[in-house]
Structure formats: C-alpha cells, structure tokens
Symmetry: C2
Amino acid sequence: MNHQESLTAYIAAVVAELIFSGVTDVVVSPGSRSTPMAMIMAEHPDLKVHIHVDERSAAFFALGIAKSLNRPVAILCTSGTAAANYFPAIVEARYARVPLIVLTADRPHELREVGAPQAIDQIHLYGKHVKWFSEMALPEKSEEIIRYARTVCARAVAIATSAPSGPVHLNFPFREPLIPKLDEELFQLNERPNGYIKVQNGNLTLSDEHFQEIANRLTKTNKGVIICGNMGDPEFPKAVTQLAEQLNFPIIADPLSQLRSGQHNLENIIETYDTFLRVDDAKSFLKPDVILRFGAMPISKALTIFLKENGSAEQYVIDGGGGWRDPSALSTNMIFCNESLFCEKLLSYTVPNSSSEFLMKWKKINGLTKENMTALRDITEISEGKLFYQLAEMVPEGATLFVGNSMPIRDLDSFFLNNNKEIKVMANRGANGIDGTVSTALGAALYSKSFYLVLGDLTFFHDLNGLIAAKLYNLDINILLVNNNGGGIFSFLPQSEHSKNFELLFGTPLDLEFEHAVKMFKGEFTKIEDWDHLESEMMKATNQSGLKVYELRTNRDVNRDEHREFWSFVSEEISNFVKGE
Amino acid sequence: MNHQESLTAYIAAVVAELIFSGVTDVVVSPGSRSTPMAMIMAEHPDLKVHIHVDERSAAFFALGIAKSLNRPVAILCTSGTAAANYFPAIVEARYARVPLIVLTADRPHELREVGAPQAIDQIHLYGKHVKWFSEMALPEKSEEIIRYARTVCARAVAIATSAPSGPVHLNFPFREPLIPKLDEELFQLNERPNGYIKVQNGNLTLSDEHFQEIANRLTKTNKGVIICGNMGDPEFPKAVTQLAEQLNFPIIADPLSQLRSGQHNLENIIETYDTFLRVDDAKSFLKPDVILRFGAMPISKALTIFLKENGSAEQYVIDGGGGWRDPSALSTNMIFCNESLFCEKLLSYTVPNSSSEFLMKWKKINGLTKENMTALRDITEISEGKLFYQLAEMVPEGATLFVGNSMPIRDLDSFFLNNNKEIKVMANRGANGIDGTVSTALGAALYSKSFYLVLGDLTFFHDLNGLIAAKLYNLDINILLVNNNGGGIFSFLPQSEHSKNFELLFGTPLDLEFEHAVKMFKGEFTKIEDWDHLESEMMKATNQSGLKVYELRTNRDVNRDEHREFWSFVSEEISNFVKGE
C-alpha cells in the first residue's frame, strides 16, 4: 500500500470523525511531526483551525473555547516537550470537567527510546489526568483500520463529553515522509458510510424510591438551605430556583453558579454570605438542619467554616459527574444524579412549604449586608473591593466576566451582587491556578460578545504571552488589570506576620510596566486615574473592539486594611441587628 | 507532639540534607502550601534561593544552573497546576541527563480527591520522566522519621546525579498551619549527627578482557573515525583527543561535544562535515570501517545519512549513562562505560598507529571546505549563515554560547569552526524543544561570565517572560535574536513545497516588535543595521552588563536560498578536488 495514500486516508478519517462527533475547533501549534494532521485539518471546511505557537497557551486557549461553547475542542502538537507544555491546561480541564481532545504526534515505534531527536516517551504522558489514553495504530488504509480509527475518535469524544467531562489523549505515531495527498476527494472519500458508531451519552438519575425518600426528608424541615458552587449546565438556574421556591430554601450562590445574574427568579438568591458568615451572631441566627449542595466547592472560606460548624446538619451532595466533592467530610448523603434533573424531579415529589420564617431570616441578613455594602461607594481611592462591587453595573447586558484566581475571584465572591443582566461568570476553578488565565479568557472571548477579564498582576504576567492570540485573531477583550505589584492574597494569610523574607517569598513584586507588553501585542493600555475615569472608559469600552487593558494600581497593605475595616464595620451592624431580633 | 515543632524539625532536616548532598541553589515559585519549605530554605546560609513566579520558566532556569554548574539544583512550588508547569523542563532534564531535585508541596491525604481547592493528584505526577518518585511522610520530629527524611533526600540527590543524571521528584504533604518556627537553632539542631548515610556514586567501566578485545579490533583498522555528540564531562576533550592521536582517527565533533573550542589538541577535530558530507564524491572518499561514537546523537542530518550509508562499518556506541542511543539501529557494539575512562584505558591498551592516510583525507576535505567557507565573509546583507561563521571570532575568551534549537543549532553545526578560545557551547538537546530556552540560558548565565544566547524569534517568543529573571537578578546576557518572523526551518522541509496553508501552519509569522518586551524587562534593545554595526556592538558588549538584545532581521526565503547556493558552490569545489586525487 502506498505510504502517502495510507497516511492521507487514515488521517482524513480521523479528522472527519472528530468533526462528526462534535468538534468544531482545533488549536494547532506548529511542528514537523504533526504535519499531516495539521495539513488535513486546514483542508476541512467545517473545522476552525487556530494557530498558537506556545503549546501551554494553546491548550488553555482551547480550554477557554470549550468552556464558552460547552463543546469538545481539540488541540494538536508535535512530539517532544511541546506535548509536555499541554500538561497544566490538561490538569485544569480534568478538575474543571472540560472536554479537551488532546492529539499528539509521535515518532513511530522504531524511533522510540533510541535517542532519536525530539522523541520522548508519550505513552500515558499525562498519567491519571486524562480520562482516556489511546496509542493509535500506524496509518493504514484498509477498511478495518479506517473503521478502527473512526471508532476510537467517536469514542474519545464520547468519553471527553460524558459526565464528568474531561480531557482525553490520542497519541499518533507518524512515519516520514509526512506530506499527505491533498485533493478534492480528501473528505468525500471519507464520508461516513452507514454502520459506523454513534454514541448517545446518558445522564445519571435516581430511582423513584430514592426521590421519594429524599422528598420526604426535605418536606419535614423548615431550616433547609441550598448551596450552589461552580456549575456549567444552562438548565440549572431555572431548575434550582424553582425547587428553592417550592421548599422555601435560601440559595447560597457562589458567583460561578451562574445564579447571581440572569432572568431567572433571584428572590431566594443569597449572595453576601461571604461577608455576613464572618459574624458569629449571624451564624447562630441562621443555623440550618438540612443542606443541599450542588456543583464544585464554593470559594468562600467563611462559608466553609460555617458548614464545618454545622456538621450535625444533614448534607446532601448532588453530583451528576459522580465525583466526591466533600473536602471537609461533612456529607451525609452522596447523590450521584444529574443536578438539573434532580431539581426538576424533586419538584414533582414535593409540595410548597408553608413556612418561610427561616428563608426570611437569611433574606433579612443578606439585605442588611447589601445596605451596608453601599458604604463601598464612598471610597474615593482606587480600591479592589469597590471595583468588584461596581462590576455588575459597569459591564453591559450579555457580557462575559472572566475572573482571575487568588484575590479577584474572592473579591467577586464577596462583592458581586445579584442583578438581572445576562452576565456569564467564568474562572479557572478546576485546580485554581494563576497559570493560563489570559489564554483561557481569550479562548472564551473568541465566540462571546462583550468580554471582560479581571485579574491581578502576577496572573497577568504568568500568561502574558497568551495575549498574542488577541493580536493574531483581532479578539475583542477588555482586561481590568488590578496591579498591586505582587501576590495580594498573602497579605491576608499568616505568612504576612513574618516580615523577614515576606516580600522575597510571598510579596514578590515584579515592578513591571505592562504598557510595553500591551503595545507589543497591539493593544490599548490605559492607566485608570480615578473612578470617573474608569466609568467613562467602561462606557466607551462597550463600543470598542480589539485588546484593551485598563490598569488599576492598588496597594497590598492598604487593600488588606480596607477589607478588614469593611468587615469589622459590617459585623457590628449585623450583630446589632441580630441582637435586636 | 507540637505541630509547628514537627513541621520545622522535619523540613529543616530535609533542607540541611539536600545541601549536605550537594545542592547549592533552589528556584522557588511563590505559593501557600509550600510556605514552610520556602521559609526554612530562605534561612539557610549556604543555600541560594532564586524566586521565579512562572513555574515553567523557574524549572528551566534551574535546569540552566544545573547544566552550567554540573550540579544538582532544586525547584520548589506549591500544589496544583503549579507543579504541572514543571513538566516541560523535567522532560528536557530527563533526556538531557541533568540532575533536578523537584520538590512539590501537596495537600495532606485527607484533602485529596475530595474537591479541595488547588488539590490535584500529584502521585507520580511526572510518570516515567523522573528517575525516582517518593511520596514523603507527613512531618514528624521523631528520630526515626528525621532519619528517614534525611535518607530519602541523600538518596534522591544520589539518584539524580548518578549516570545518567536526571530529575527526581519528592512530593511533600503539609497540614495547616504552615508557619514554621524560625529561630537560631533551626539548623544547629539538625546538624548531621554521625551515622547518617553518605552515598558514593560509581562509574561504569569494562573488564580488562573487554578493553583488550576492543583494542585488538581498533589497532587492526586504518579507517576508523570517532564521532562525538553532546557531552558534559570536562575530562572528556583531553581523553578523546589523546586516543584519536594515538589511533590516527579523525574526530567528527558536534558543536555540543565541547571539542571545537579549547586548549586541547585540535589537530584531529573535523568540524565542517555537515557541509562536505552532503557531497557524494566526498562520501565515497571517506568511507570508514570502524566508528567509535560518544555522547548524544549528533545534530547533523548529513552525518546521519553518511552513517546509514556506511551501515556495514562496525559502530561502537560508548555510553556511560547506559542508554540506547542508536536511532538508526546501526550500532554493532553497545558499550556501557564512562566515556573518559574508556578513552584513557584504551590509550594504554593500544599503540600509536603508523598509518595516517585516512586521517589525512578527512583533514584535507575539512581544510578545503573551510577555505571555501571564507566566501561567507563576502556576504554583505545580514545573513544567518555568516553570523554563525563569525561567532567564534566575535565572542571573547571564556564565553558561554547558548544556542536555540531549530535553525540556530543547525547553523552552528554547519558554520562554527575550531578555535583555541575556551568557549562553552550549550543548547537544550534533550528533547530539542524551542520552549524554555530563554530561562535555561539565564539560569546558565547566573554563574558564567560573558554569556551569549543566539536564538530565533519563535524560540524567543515561546519563553519571553523568562526575561524577568534578567531584570530581577541583574543578569548579564547578550542575546542575538535572529528574527526571520516565523519558523525558518520549515523552509528547508518538504512542507514548503505546498504553499496553500504554509504560512498559516508552518511559517507562522508573529509580526512582533520585541523592543517593547525588552524595554519592559529593563533591557537594551539594538536593531543591527549591518556587519560593521554588529561588530562594533559585539566589541562593546564584552564590557557591558545587564540584559542586551541585538536583533538581526533576516528573511526565511532568502536564507534558504543562500544556504542552498553555498552548499552547491562548495559541493562543486569538493567534487573537483576529489576527482583530482
């Protein structure tokens, strides 16, 4: 069999099948060994090929596309350390449950472990951090091998997208010469004949008896709360808010639950818990006896402590991905069931709760906290807390808000209030790293309108090169760079009480003028002078295109003090209120 | 037992033992879980702590230090994707045989696989790409556990430094609170009592019978050649050149063999083979019947093809690291013996060869090629080939020359001629990636004088952020940036014959003005206008400090044509000469 024909037919089948299975985008990093796959991908009319030189950024860029589209995205690179650069994004995808199809080109067997250039051991390269690994057969054109290749691809996408979604890795050995035969029949020849496999992924659900049992328990309590962490399912907000209304349960809504913004009923949504659950009086006022928890663990440390202090409450953890999300070991019932389905089903097994006293308590404390939060408006200096408090007002309807890890996501949790805009909130909360944030955001921005990224200077620096995608693809993105010249979060941790090597090991100021880098990537850089300036720039931003970076300079010590003063002030107000009840 | 005391005593023992075992430098990336280790490391008077925010760059920076010092270097990071960012440098270290001590902080067992923040599965995180992995015990202060911890550290360094050197990984679970007790007795208490383990690493050697057998064969041939690839052993140049003299074998010296520059005897060193082994007449003129090969596979493709064409020659591959460096499967004898020791021993088992005819043939062709190479001097435009031809003249005595992968290392191979300066030549040739080059070079520059890095624009871009180390540590480095706006090597490959998606997939121009980034990192940027300008800048460079980037703009197509014209011209000259013999 002719080598070139085998190579071409086999890879064309692979590419066609990936697309048939739902892949619409691939991020390709240039390289030699991956040549046949890259060249054939570029020929397919239904596949969008994005080029990214740095494989680490490339993988995060793909992660961002996958997160924004809720769809599997492929990445392709050559052999060697190129593939190792994918690792951080793969780990993030694994824990964030994002479907990535990792395609690596490799040397054929005779060139492995014999000192050949750019040949590393790629078998199970990502270990347990991919859901599935398959070492592919060498290209062949026989019907049997083409069928095998198509089946593996269909299966790979099915595994990547079945709950919990995640990355899969296919490793392709290619022999030289690496040039495929590109002609008009490339994909026609490989159209999907009848009889190939189609995969229908199911969702986890419970038996009627199980639902009845849970319903019986829930209708017996008047002190139930729902807690929602990071969730991606677009059906979920409606389902969970309807259940909460029927049960008169407050919903403690993490900013990544997608519950704080939108057209669903916001009545029961409690969003300032990270502030009021720091107050002992509030905590004794609000003790639950049943907890329903959905999604990833919430961000708030105050909430985590509150849950530990209420360890005697029954805690139902509902996970459609069959995980074990229970770091404090407080769960009494681990329920493996699709979350939206769970809410919808329970609605029919329960009746409206007549008592709303407990819900009202939560709403009162939440309302009071919100009232007191208006004090943030009076801050005249550039302030991190105030920025996040005003974000919901500043970004337009339909915007996506991507938030960096470390301080920004915590400030968003504390200060981002309920609103009726359709604002999608995103972050990399699989493993909570500061790496790859710029690239993930740019990937997510690719198919989004009105995109806002808020992040700190270390996070911005860690993936600064990721900005190249904004330049190459003329992406529209507004970046709010909170520059406190170092690791702001450490000022809140016990490390800060030991000044000796604090700046060396934790403060880590970089003293960078990011304007230079932004210019290199053809972006606009604006140093925000004051709140009026920010407001007018944000007004303008809604109509502009391209890469725009707005820098807000803050001070780590001032920021810590401001947070502490705010919490101390609100604590007093809340304590006084509770004592008056 | 008090938690803080246990934490402190255990980690102080770990740090003290690593230093006792030969670790002098650690590269730390800021994070929370790694706090106790970082704080104790910063207290040790004999450990140099370097901070690097981006773990990918940090690991390559450590790799550079380890390569330049021939010493194990440690890296430390927090849990999560931080650790995954180490992967590319670890893979490179594995294949380049560089000792890295990878220290990762981790959540304790009760916080694993339960959705705790920043917790990923770090057990065997780097798979087969580390020589050893150990999951450490939780900190304890008992004599037994301290002894265990010290032993594991001594053992880890011993494994990392035994041939073939490579990375090892120790994963440390730490419980909160994470602050150690820092006082003056920190290390005094942990001084090494008598009786702890000391490791003496041996070298591979052969029996007298083996040496005699090999010597018998070698003295029977008058057509032997020595081939030397990448080698780090400082004893090797003297050892191998003495053997070559005795046997009258030419030495085909890859630029990374460290044989082209230095005070050793350069008589038998052949360095222009990449040019003349493209010529059929030369190849038939120079056929060997015995080949001794040392070090990694040489870079030159012309040489690789020459070896394949002489598959009937006996090929002895000598590897003190016990690898299997034989991608073309041509080796007839695989010899696991320390390379310098092998040469020294053979010297005493052999007698001087009286015939020098074969050696003279090689030297004649090499000399002729060198003569013809002077034509490169006449090129007036900025030219990649001419740059590498003139490098040895431009850099000062005692300089280190670090060369990027892809085209620069190949051009160095082709055009960097023998010289009597002490020039150390470095590159990342473990897996030949373009990633991490800037950081590796900066790490190597830390303890070197007169440091020159020559690399292409994609390689520069891939690790641009690595330049932060130059700024933070005031490193002195001269960077010659060969900017041909994309992937120059692909113009030499068959891909270039298919123009349709060539620029998209392989050319990948980034159109970046790197001056901006260099300014951000407080470096000086100079665009080289012509050869006089370069020469005068290089004269100045020998006396300057800090980060300096000299950009040479070239054109990929022109460069390819220039190379091809040069080879075609030289081919003719060589053919004419051989026909005349």
